[in-house]
């Protein structure tokens, strides 16, 4: 197994129930180091349960979570973060009346012994993180108010915040939903930069074209189970992937024989 293909996160037979409803019925998913994995599925397919399981919000009822070769139990948001998995939720969890730097260090301020904030160190660190993902502009700086930024830029703040704390895996929950074309391109640039830094990205999306453009591999979930997965090269194009998603929605089964078997 080469370094590129080494699994960084493995979910094995994950079952999650809410009362009588089984949201996930034995999902196994592997996230490989350094890839951008596109996670797709219709509404109610179990996508957001799977994301919350990755984030540690849900502790699965059955199954195993293995991060960097070690099984993790108990599985909590803190445990996920300690394991190097940072999740950027759809609502981005930002404080709009405050500066970029205050948002990046929310809950993890750099302080001295009596709790006073080291302002310059935080600004320097914010600058470094923002440069790392190409999130720079003449119009704003770390002290700009988040509420004045565009949707894509706010996503940049959330991604920069996820990078602080040396995260290895960044989970992006529908980062381009409700964004314009140019804003979506901005988010793609951030994701490319995160990937270029050697980190792993799990990209959850509604818009299949968006996910197609950014992901290296796809994992499709349907009714709480894995429907199919495949490298980007296994599809002839975005339309091929969409065609299979349509089959899945109509017949409950996609014709995986059409996948090109990449060596």
């Amino acid at each position: 197994m080469s370094g590129q293909d080494a699994p960084i996160v493995e979910l094995r037979n994950i079952v999650k129930r809410f009362g009588n409803v089984e949201a996930l019925s034995g999902v196994s998913m592997t996230v490989r180091k350094g890839e951008v994995l596109g996670l797709l599925g219709d509404n109610g397919a179990g996508k957001s349960t799977l994301v919350k399981t990755l984030a540690g919000v849900h502790d699965p009822d059955e199954g195993e979570i293995i991060v960097k070769g070690n099984a993790r139990k108990p599985w909590t948001p803190l445990a996920a973060r300690d394991a190097g998995i940072e999740t950027v939720f759809q609502d981005r969890a930002l404080a709009p009346q405050h500066s970029i730097v205050t948002n990046i260090f929310m809950g993890r301020e750099i302080t001295n012994a009596v709790g006073l904030i080291r302002v310059q160190r935080q600004i320097d660190e914010a600058n470094r993180l923002m440069r790392e993902i190409g999130f720079t502009s003449k119009v704003f700086n770390p002290e700009s108010t988040v509420g004045h930024l565009s949707g894509g830029e706010r996503q940049g703040v959330a991604i920069a915040r996820a990078l602080y704390n040396q995260a290895d895996v960044i989970v992006l929950d529908e980062p381009t939903t409700a964004l314009s074309l140019t804003e979506t391109q901005k988010v793609f640039r951030f994701v490319e930069a995160v990937k270029a830094s050697g980190r792993t990205v799990v990209f959850i999306g509604h818009n299949i074209y968006h996910v197609w453009e950014i992901a290296d591999r796809f994992f499709v979930i349907d009714r709480g189970r894995e429907a199919f997965e495949g490298e980007k090269t296994a599809f002839t194009g975005a339309d091929h992937l969409i065609e299979m998603m349509h089959q899945l929605a109509e017949t409950g089964k996609a014709d995986t024989d059409t996948l090109v078997n990449a060596a």
Binding site: P96, H98, T102, M106, T111, G115, L116, I117
Partner: protein
């Protein structure tokens, strides 16, 4: 014709962006944008003072006139600057007047028992923190709206104090002029000007600076702001939202205790159960005149300080300036409304 539109739009955009850049670069513009609300509060104070001074320059340019002002204003400063934390966190505290009264009573009880003034003062601060903890715990863990809970608790604590005191006042004339008493509320003259600076005004200044540093540069203050801005995101990022909320009530309790202990000493060591009752609306008015918005997340300590000066100046200053006593409420309301409009110009809520 079809390509006229972009050509016409271009110079407009160019000018607009050039203006934006000029604004961005101007040091003063940036300073105003960051501190607009505090500056508005300062301007309101200067304006009110100027109106009074124009009406009666002899009185208002005489330093001696400000002796009474400097003597009474610290109580409002202690309360208002600390309430900033409560309002910014998204809560409301209407119980602080009762804590002022109760803390004054505790302080005097100890002084009558011949506990040294400074020691009694420190114990009183601890008492304020404890009551604040109780109020905060009821609001936060009882999941009751802080408006309703603290309204009820204000009556409850005030009533309890009345029951215990049975209408009696406490006085300790022997403690007047002791070291601790002079250190806390003694007076000294500023260079032969006739202006008497009370020590509790100096303490109020120090308290304001302390609040400013705590609010702006300490982890606690920054988290108070974040909790008030978006408590859900603060929670997601691992901030203990409940603890921060209880913390602001503890802080408010400590400030009310300081005020209680200072008020009885300003009255030459006489305590009566309702001391503090008068400060409820004054302190809140000062806070909002000071530019802290009602919606939480942001606020200004120095603005609150200027607000406290303004609301204290209006009633006495109006009479000094020759307005009949009937005018004071009207002027008070006018100033509050006008400063609210001015603050509106420094920006609505950012979402």
């Amino acid at each position: 014709m079809s390509d006229a539109t972009p050509a016409a739009a271009k110079p407009v955009e160019a000018i607009a962006s050039a203006v934006d850049r000029r604004k961005e670069q101007s040091h003063w513009f940036r300073f105003y944008r960051r501190n607009g609300r505090a500056l508005n509060a300062f301007l309101a104070l200067v304006l009110v003072w100027a109106v009074f001074a124009v009406n009666n320059p002899v009185l208002f340019l005489n330093p001696v006139y400000y002796n009474a002002f400097l003597f009474t204003v610290p109580a409002t400063i202690f309360l208002t600057t600390s309430l900033v934390f409560v309002i910014v966190s998204g809560e409301l505290d209407l119980a602080f007047p009762s804590v002022v009264g109760a803390a004054g009573g505790v302080f005097m009880y100890l002084v009558v028992l011949e506990v040294p003034v400074l020691a009694a003062f420190l114990v009183t601060l601890g008492f304020g923190a404890l009551i604040g903890l109780g109020i905060g715990a009821i609001v936060v863990y009882g999941k009751i709206s802080s408006l309703v809970a603290t309204l009820g608790l204000n009556f409850f604590i005030l009533g309890l104090v009345n029951l215990l005191a049975q209408g009696r006042t406490i006085s300790a004339p022997d403690a007047v002029g002791t070291f601790g008493n002079r250190l806390l509320v003694g007076k000294w003259e500023l260079f032969d000007t006739g202006l008497q600076i009370p020590n509790h005004f100096v303490w109020a200044l120090a308290w304001t600076v302390f609040c400013y540093v705590l609010f702006k540069y300490h982890r606690f203050g920054v988290r108070v702001q974040l909790v008030g801005d978006n408590s859900e995101s603060a929670r997601q990022m691992g901030i203990n939202v409940e603890r921060i909320r209880v913390g602001v009530f503890i802080f408010s309790g400590i400030a009310a205790a300081i005020t209680g202990a200072v008020l009885v000493q300003m009255a030459n060591m006489v305590w009566f159960p309702t001391s503090g009752k008068a400060y409820l609306l004054i302190a809140l008015a000062a806070l909002f005149v000071g530019g802290t918005p009602t919606w939480g997340g942001v606020g200004t300590i120095f603005g609150a300080f200027f607000g406290a000066l303004t609301v204290t100046l209006i009633p006495s200053g109006a009479v000094g300036a020759g307005f009949a006593g009937f005018w004071t409420d009207f002027l008070f309301g006018l100033v509050i409304i006008l400063t609210m409009v001015a603050h509106r110009f420094s920006g609505a809520r950012v979402r």
